[in-house]
Amino acid sequence: MTEPALSLRGLTKSFDKKVVDALDLEIAAGELYALLGPNGAGKTTTLRMVTGLTRPDAGAIHIFGIDALAEPQAAKALTAWLPDEPMLYDKLSPAEYLAFVAGLWRIPPAEAAPEAERLLKWLELWDQRDQRCEGFSRGMKQKVALAGALIHRPRLLVLDEPLTGLDATMARAVKDALRAAVDAGATVVITTHILEVAEHMADRIGIIAGGRLLAEGTLAELRERAGSDDMTLEDVFIRLTSPLSATA
């Protein structure tokens, strides 16, 4: 049996109140998994714990079998993180930024430079490769950050609201890049408020609320759970997360 790409067991985190509550989740390798939930459901906190940015209070995180809490560097070497606010340096150009990220992941220059060239051309940033990011639109910045996330060929790509604020063309480019990453064997975990994206792209969908996993499965399985075969994901989402339906 192959190792799951991501395995969470009893993951718990509290700030002023409990944000993630004994969350269990398993995502198979090569899947595109969409994590949905209302605002404050604990999605971002969960992903930040996966990427090592937030320390959990309890629980276990395994990335391709590696204990991410005990061996964070080994786990990080396989993972890429793309938040909604791109982690960029305004005064670096896309080419310089990719060189920096490749250096952090210790990718040999002979390997990283051709990959950077491929990504910049693919994401239509090649002509802007020597311009500083400070004047870029939000969409262009997000594409540079995506190239940074892909340059070290991660096996697990974790994205938090990557399509926020992007126009249709840019959003399409990002979606194509994610699909291509999955086709190449990577695992993608994505949070989004754009349910249409999850509906059309995700292999499996998890719905989280109050730090707990309410439901999980393919769209068909979620529809079945919500009690109707012809519901849109939006209807399913509202049905499963609405307080009225929970008490009904």
């Binding site: 090592g52 070497a77 982690m87 340096y89 005064k91 990220v101 220059p109 430079a113 950077a116 020597d130």
Partner: protein, 481 residues
């Protein structure tokens, strides 16, 4: 007054001023720093009480000496206030997040400009009131009631400085263009801050003039009978409570303030609108050189390339670091500039060590605390301490060429002393970097100028450690010379 402002109709000038003052004067952070600031202020106020007690029997009459001294102090303080106003105007124009909102609202731009000017003047008054009033107010309360004119003088000076600061900023934007305005503006601000020092040094070339800054200015004014009567005497008379002088200065400042609002509103609007150009990508074709030139093997090389590029492309920030060295110049000049001054080589050794501390401390802060993408480093498969060591090494490497300058000069006097200085300079730099590393406090890189308000400890400790190391280096060089 407050009740009047509260009742002011929304969108009108008093209402907007109230909003601006609330935003400008709201404390940035609460907690330990606030407690420390309150304790320091209380101690300072205690010093004011002692001063007031000591002065209770002394008559403060508008003598020629006192009037001249107040004029000199007014000029010095106004130059600092104008520097602060230039920097605040830049922040308002280029960093202020609310100008889009204010200028898109149905409010005349002139009202917005005047409200912003009021906020700038208020923040300046607050800064200087904290420095001056704890001494002045107890003295005024204990028998020298005329000194209640000092707050009025401060307000008049701040209003004038705010107008000058905004006017200078707009002229800089006009001449240098929006792209370079920020950098040129900071250079102008620094020159303004150092203007009195520079003027005093020019005056110091005259026989008998050995002191610097405000004292030299006072001596020059006294020698030339400036400030004893007429307009020059107004600040002194106002500070001592002369109602006519207070009215004249405050009235003049308010008239200038109104005139500035009338004259500068269009320039302000144009500067703000063209400021958007600063953010647009520079036109230009991509380099034909291979992309491989950017890629480096090893963490240090990667980190150094990034830190060096970020600093080299932010001339305003780089200039702030150079300023640390310029601010050390008075020590050198005062130490060496007259008969019987300190010996050259040991003084240079001291300056070298303290200067290295300032430069490395600043560079280390930029690299470590001022990291713009901390999450990127946190998710990278590198040990945090390893990354920080690479950043510290980058800071040391960037400072190395500057650190070689004074030891090279000392080598003319004593080659062995130069070696000793080099060792202590490296030690001072390393210690300053380690202090920044140990007590790092993540902030925005753009907050470089305000970093000390975030951590008084690192600043004081750096001065203490590098000062002691500098004294040791100076003593050894003195023995060797």
């Amino acid at each position: 007054m407050n009740a009047l402002i509260r009742r002011a109709a929304p969108g009108r000038f008093p209402w907007l001023v109230r909003h601006e003052l609330r935003v400008a004067l709201r404390p940035r952070a609460r907690g330990r720093s606030t407690v420390v600031a309150a304790i320091v202020l209380a101690l300072y106020f205690g010093l004011g009480l002692l001063t007031a007690y000591a002065l209770r029997g002394v008559a403060l009459t508008p003598s020629a000496a006192l009037l001249t001294a107040v004029l000199a102090a007014t000029i010095v303080i106004t130059s600092f206030m104008t520097t602060q106003a230039v920097l605040a105007s830049q922040r308002t124009l280029f960093d202020g997040g609310d100008l889009d909102l204010l200028l898109s609202a149905p409010i005349p731009p002139r009202t917005v400009v005047l409200a912003k000017l009021t906020a700038i003047a208020a923040s300046i008054v607050l800064t200087f009131a904290a420095l001056v009033l704890p001494i002045v107010l107890p003295t005024a309360l204990l028998g020298h009631s005329g000194l209640f004119g000092v707050p009025a003088l401060l307000v008049a000076m701040a209003l004038v400085a705010a107008c000058l600061g905004l006017a200078i900023t707009l002229v800089v934007v006009r001449i240098a263009g929006p792209r370079a305005a920020r950098t040129v503006g900071q250079i102008v601000a620094a020159l303004l801050a150092g203007a009195i020092f520079l003027v005093s040094q020019i005056i110091s070339q005259h026989p008998g003039a050995r002191r610097s800054g405000g004292v030299t200015l006072y001596e020059w004014f006294s020698a030339h009978h400036v400030g004893t009567d007429g307009i020059g005497a107004l600040p002194g008379r106002a500070a001592l409570g002369d109602p006519l002088a207070i009215l004249t200065l405050l009235g003049g400042a308010l008239a200038l303030f109104a005139l500035a609002g009338y004259a500068l509103d269009r320039g302000f609007l144009r500067s703000y609108q063209t400021g958007g150009v600063r953010l647009s990508p520079r036109a230009g074709r991509a380099s034909s050189r291979a992309i491989t030139r950017h890629f480096r093997a090893g963490l240090f090389a990667t980190m150094f390339a990034k830190e060096w590029r970020l600093l080299a492309r932010d001339p305003a920030l780089a200039f702030q670091i150079v300023l640390r060295l310029i601010y050390l110049a008075p020590f050198v000049v005062v130490s060496l500039g007259h008969d019987g001054g300190a010996p050259v080589a040991p003084t240079l050794a001291f300056i070298s060590v303290v200067g290295a501390g300032q430069v490395v401390g600043s560079l280390a802060w930029i690299a470590i605390s001022g990291e713009d993408a901390p999450d990127l480093l946190a998710v990278a498969p590198i040990d945090r301490r390893q990354a920080e060591r690479a950043k510290l090494a980058s800071a040391l490497a960037m400072a190395a060429p500057i650190a070689l300058l004074l030891p090279a000069a000392i080598a003319v006097f004593t080659p062995l002393g130069a070696m000793v200085t080099l060792v202590f300079t490296a030690f001072g730099g390393a210690m300053a970097g380690l202090i920044e590393l140990k007590w790092q406090k993540p902030m925005k890189r753009s907050a470089f100028l305000r970093r000390r308000s975030g951590s008084l400890l690192t600043g004081a400790l750096t001065f203490l450690v590098t000062g002691l190391a500098g004294l040791m280096a100076g003593a050894i060089v003195w023995l060797l010379a």
